[in-house]
Amino acid sequence: MIVVTMGNMSTFIDTLLAPLQYEFMQRGMIAAILVGIVCAVVGSYMVLRGMAFFGDALAHTILPGIALGYLVSGGAREPLFWWSLGTSIVAALGIGAISKNSQIKEDTAIGIIFAGMFALGIALISTVRSYAVDLSHFLFGDVLSVSTSSLWLILIFGGIVLLIVFAFYKEFTTLSFDPVLAATLRLPVGLLNNLLLTLIAVTVAVSLQTVGVALMVAMLVTPAATAYLLTHRLSHMMILGAVLASLSGVIGLYLSFYLSIASGAAIVLTATAFFMIAFGWKQITQK
């Protein structure tokens, strides 16, 4: 049992406020919250449609695009958003087309392309001297170096993604639950599928600086999956997922600040802990 006295309370508040004196922490917090909301909403569809592997592959596939942008712009970070956005959309629609038309099984085709592209990205980045540091930022994120202009890009593009999901909520939900019904209702199934792939791609680009390529799939599916265990309606799943993802971002950054651990990893570990708790609770209450 924890007894909170007035003295303890004020040190607790100090603990919470101390990191926020730093502007990079404030920006990081805002970025983590925004990214968490967008990832959980889009990720809800990915969890329900079994697209985790696709999300993981997509995030890895854009590395050569980022690397190319990095080489072309001589190491500047600002243009990288646009490079990752472009590569991500092309890769998402490309993977979508391949998995539909391929003779090889879908997951094998995706696996071959994603590993190949990922290797190409590493090869490109390895031509630069500061290779190790830069690569680790792309792979695992660097949310504490988010600039104000990057924050605006996250806000604008994340907002567009949320608006489109809101506008086509009933279509995406019908399509995800019963594609045959969507087809018999003459919904534009191909168009909607590609729109959803594009939204996932934009989400990946928006989230890149927060968790990086290698941990991206966790932001996309872990909070959404946690919410899936605890809710019975898709809208509730999206909202709870967004709350859990934002909380994971904030708690993760505090852990990162006080324990000096990598920010992306701290956020993902927090989200994973939420999932484990929900999973355990579900196991206990169902028996």
Binding site: L48, A167, F168, K170, E171, T173, T174, S176, F177, D178, V180, L181, A182, A183, T184, L185, R186, L187, P188, Y228, T231, H232, R233, L234, H236, M237
Partner: protein, 269 residues
């Protein structure tokens, strides 16, 4: 409003001409020709893999025929929103986070059109549909809390909310216990007053004979299509089921040794 085709009321609700569908290089349906009248109830009977699901998907316009054509009120199915396809229960993700009313509302997606959220009128349609199938008390339930019979009723309500005029039901009776089967068959009888045309894929020859206007015997080809007493002859059944049909010793009974999912055997007297 998503685009859809208007009906030519002087044309039959369903007109199938020389329909041929190949699936992964194999012939699933070969040269099917038949037509249905409005308000008719037809049982589609045949062994597993006979092409029943394929036929329904081709009629619904989800699968493109390789040869021949399907016409709904005189035009191709691709533009029609009046076809309700009710999937096999095993094809559905029952843990999907939606309520019964949510699923029934999905049937309104086409009528609502893009960028519209359900209006009061749409919720009224949904509740009326749930009343018709007698599960309005379950509207707020998550779908994995339904029994097998209730699951089928929910999908029928969805087709009603869609204002479907042709309902294609893929094995709605399999896996249900007898009371649930009877309840569902009674419901289908009542739908006749709503002038809904129904095609039901089934394994049960007895039910097909007792509850449907006409029976279609299918095994890739159309073996017979007509009134139950015309269709259910040993010759026809042997053609449909081939070696899986064995006369029971000394009696005028045929046993269908069909590999159903639940391993049940079917009998016809």
């Amino acid at each position: 409003m998503y685009p859809h085709t208007h009906h030519q009321q002087d044309q039959p609700i369903l007109d199938v001409l020389s329909l041929t569908v190949r699936y992964n290089g194999r012939v699933a349906l070969e040269d099917l020709t038949f037509h249905l009248h409005e308000g008719e109830r037809v049982a589609v009977v045949g062994p597993n893999g006979a092409g029943k699901s394929t036929l329904f998907k081709a009629i619904a316009g989800v699968l493109q025929p390789n040869f021949g054509e399907v016409k709904i009120y005189g035009s191709r199915p691709r533009g029609h929103v009046c076809i309700g396809y009710i999937p096999q229960r095993t094809q559905v993700d029952w843990n999907f986070p939606v309520s019964v009313a949510d699923v029934v509302m999905m049937g309104r997606s086409a009528k609502l059109g893009p960028l519209n959220w359900p209006h009061k009128k749409d919720w009224e349609v949904v509740h009326h549909a749930l009343e018709t199938v007698e599960i309005s008390n379950l509207a707020a339930r998550q779908i994995n809390q339904l029994s097998g019979g209730q699951q089928q009723r929910m999908f029928i309500a969805r087709a009603l909310a869609q204002e479907a005029e042709l309902m294609l039901m893929d094995e709605p009776l399999s896996g249900l216990d007898t009371p649930a089967q009877e309840g569902l068959l009674n419901l289908l009888d009542r739908l006749k007053t709503e002038n809904v045309t129904v095609m039901v894929a089934t394994h049960d020859l007895d039910q097909a004979a007792n509850h449907f206007d006409r029976i279609m015997l299918l095994n890739h080809r159309l073996i017979a299509f007509g009134y139950p007493d015309e269709v259910l002859h040993t010759d026809n059944l042997l053609q449909a089921y081939g070696g899986r049909l064995k006369p029971v010793d000394g009696q005028n009974i045929l046993s269908v040794d069909d590999c159903c999912d639940d391993g049940e055997h079917e009998h016809i007297h």
